[in-house]
């Protein structure tokens, strides 16, 4: 085998360069697709799309062409969108009404941020399809969040370090109390 491979590998690049001439390895594949005149590249993806196809095919109005009952991405059902909107609205009302209660100087901010983060989570998970989407997109998004957290926490830490100097400056430049 080893002896046979060497000359083949050496020849292949030449035949590839020779414009449209086919290499022996591709020829069988071509034969398989050739008899099908309606060949379209999208057909290759169909087996992978089966689990996603269910959501699409529920709808009677869909696809007028043969291959279109297989979507490229997840289709969100209407009830889910309305439920997410309802939850977001409820949380908005909650976050507004909670400001009239005193939960301590930090308490209100923490509650407001927790509610905002839940809302953001709902939007990202459902409206932005990350629940069904490729995990790589989730990783991308979480990377951005991670770097924002790093950015903010380092800035806050740094601010804490020079607070003393700011206080000194402020006290030195503030006009004396009216006497």
């Amino acid at each position: 085998m080893a002896n046979d491979d060497t000359p083949q590998n050496a020849e292949q690049p030449k035949s590839m360069q020779g414009s449209s001439e086919e290499t022996p390895t591709i020829a069988p594949e071509d034969d398989a697709t050739a008899p099908n005149p309606a060949f379209e590249p999208t057909e290759q993806d169909e087996p992978e799309q089966d689990e996603q196809a269910d959501a699409v095919s529920e709808d009677p109005q869909q696809g007028h062409e043969k291959h279109e009952d297989h979507g490229l991405a997840h289709t969100m059902p209407i009830w889910m969108m309305l439920a997410v909107l309802g939850a977001l609205m409820a949380l908005t009302i909650l976050t507004v009404s909670v400001t009239s209660f005193d939960l301590g100087s930090e308490g209100n901010l923490v509650v407001a941020m927790v509610i905002a983060t839940i809302k953001a989570g709902l939007v990202v998970t459902f409206f932005m399809h990350l629940f069904w989407d490729k995990k790589f997109h989730l990783i991308l998004f979480l990377t951005a969040v991670l770097f924002v957290i790093l950015f903010l926490s380092m800035s806050i830490t740094d601010r804490g370090e020079y607070q003393h100097n700011i206080d000194l400056y402020t006290n030195a430049t503030t006009p004396a109390v009216g006497k």
Binding site: M81, V148, L152, R159
Partner: protein, 322 residues
């Protein structure tokens, strides 16, 4: 990524290489170089609709990533400044209209729903519903900008401008929002101001608002309800600009710089979104989107959700300061 790209690349040799026996290739041979090899919306540098869609989706996610980091600079400014000067935020929030902020939050949430719905419509080739949902999204975005316009106009009118232009026409304790929340403190601040202005009793007023000094005969020791809201808003006390009378906190203008930059940058994103949706609405009306080609709608909806996401944080941070 490799898993998504590899199946799309596979058909390449079979598809591109001309084979005279196949009818399909004869059709496409002539204009294969200039795009639309396999369909009206499949760009020539993609082999499949799936590949085209995935590439676009990755692209928009990378863009959203930069957007998150872009906005984070302003959120950082906000966080650092709020940590340093909490009184400035307490002071400034009385000037903001929570109702308008809440209305805008709801408007944006509804537009997010219609954007998500539009994606579904495009996927299912529901042309009329798609155009309708895009139209509602645009209408919501315009409503948001109109509300924003009136908010800004009100701020400009009241001298609440960023930086050196900051000259509020009203003191914080004169505002209805403050009076409603802290009636006693508002009254007390009013009394002190009148005393300082009309009677020129500067020293007595200064004594009354300086907790480190004994209260002179003219004033009874103020109650906590009278003092605390004023202290927290930087009207009196160590953070105040003027130590002889009720005033505003030092650097109050910085809040309005942050406010205008954050809401302004967000507003620019909303305007850009309106432009994109108008363009897509026209294309949708021509029936250009369907199960194989709905990428532009999906990507724009993702962008629109991110704009909504930023506002979800801006609203409590700017309008709901306790």
């Amino acid at each position: 990524m490799s898993e998504s790209i590899s199946p799309a690349i596979e058909p390449k040799p079979g598809h591109r290489v001309p084979a005279p026996a196949v009818h399909e290739d004869a059709d496409h041979g002539g204009h294969d170089e200039h795009g639309h090899g396999a369909g009206p919306h499949l760009a020539h540098h993609f082999d499949t609709y799936q590949q085209q869609f995935d590439a676009g989706k990755l692209g928009i996610w990378l863009f959203l990533l930069t957007e998150v980091l872009f906005f984070s600079g302003l959120f950082c400014a906000y966080t650092v400044y709020r940590g340093m000067h909490p009184e400035v935020f307490v002071y400034a929030h009385y000037f903001l209209n929570t109702t308008m902020g809440a209305i805008n939050t709801c408007v944006l949430l509804v537009s997010s729903l219609t954007a998500a719905w539009a994606v579904r419509n495009a996927q299912l080739a529901q042309r009329k519903l798609l155009v309708l949902n895009i139209a509602i999204t645009i209408a919501c975005a315009c409503t948001f900008m109109v509300v924003k316009f009136f908010e800004y106009q009100h701020k400009f009118h009241d001298g609440l401008l960023p930086g050196p232009a900051f000259h509020p026409t009203e003191q914080v304790w004169e505002l209805d929002a403050f009076k409603k929340k802290h009636p006693e403190a508002a009254e007390y601040a009013e009394k002190l101001t009148q005393l300082a202005e009309h009677k020129g009793d500067v020293s007595a007023v200064a004594g009354a608002i300086d907790l480190t000094r004994p209260v002179t005969g003219k004033f009874e020791r103020p109650t906590e309800a009278q003092l605390e809201p004023l202290l927290k808003a930087g009207v009196i006390g160590p953070a105040a600009e003027d130590t002889t009378r009720p005033s505003k906190p030092r650097n109050a203008h910085v809040f309005f710089s942050i406010y205008f930059f954050m809401t302004g940058l967000h507003g620019i994103h909303v305007l850009a979104g309106i432009g994109v949706w108008v363009w897509l609405g026209i294309r949708a009306n021509k029936g250009q989107f369907g199960p194989k080609y709905f990428g532009p709608i999906d990507y724009s909806a993702l962008y629109w959700h991110l704009v909504d996401l930023v506002w979800i944080y801006l609203f409590p941070l700017l309008y709901l300061i306790h």
